[in-house]
Symmetry: C2
Subunit: 156 residues, 2 copies
Amino acid sequence: MPREKVKMAYINDINARKASFNKRKKSIFKKVSELTILCGIQACAIIQNPFDFQIEVWPNPERVDQVIERYQNTSLINESRNMNQESFFIQRISKAQQKLHNLRKDNYEKKITLAMFEYIQTRKLPENLTIEDLKVMDDIREKYMKEIENKKAILY
Amino acid sequence: MPREKVKMAYINDINARKASFNKRKKSIFKKVSELTILCGIQACAIIQNPFDFQIEVWPNPERVDQVIERYQNTSLINESRNMNQESFFIQRISKAQQKLHNLRKDNYEKKITLAMFEYIQTRKLPENLTIEDLKVMDDIREKYMKEIENKKAILY
DNA sequence: TGCCCTATGCTTAGTTT
DNA sequence: TAAACTAAGCATAGGGC
């Protein structure tokens, strides 16, 4: 009895899906490995394993990070290729300004955070805090609480 | 005449290498695509194209960034799985201390950099600089020069 | 469950166009 | 240079254990 051609769709049977996943993952990693050897290049593959909540990579975390970094650097260069010089630089400047803004905000938040620690440790409010500072402290507290909530969602 | 089995080694002939690269890249992307459909997962592949100095990705830059981010978040969790709780926290603390050290160093370097600006703008050396400060200024200058050199190497 | 087997279909090196 | 072809080798779904 000749097997039917497999339909390209989600495999409902969990055992069949697990078997297929393991076989195909192995062969993808092998193919990527072959390509890097045959053509003398760098490459990587990142595959989410649906059965043990891990993410599997080829060849190894260190090299994957290298490839990712190179990719992310190169995408910047490609951006510039696809635009005329002027609009590229306008975007770059705008991004740099955004970064500067974020750095300043970050710095301000760090100062305020230190003030909060001082308050906690000395059990008295520092004298030179303004109403504005107290408002920012609330913002930061909310931000940190959200971050902690997100980390919980990831960890458990 | 039966073809010989291909040796798993760098293909010297450029045309053969180019043909092989394109065929194999296409099929890897296809295989990764099939895996994501069959198993309902996320995955990506990042391949350096040796012929046009680009880096090619599957499925697209946006999703690749998503997969990368998820991978980098998860690797933290895996760290904790592969260790007992105690050594995990020891490592975490050690990393946090390293980060604090770097933040302090960064802060110090920023102070010194401001001092350098002051020197440039006023054309006279600030009075409260120590020999140690001057030494650090040299280190920073060297560091920045190296960074600029690296960016040049990437951009041109 | 996971491993091995095998028939079928897919991939691909080398060739032709 | 690239696209199409083809034979050989490879991948893999399904079955057996």
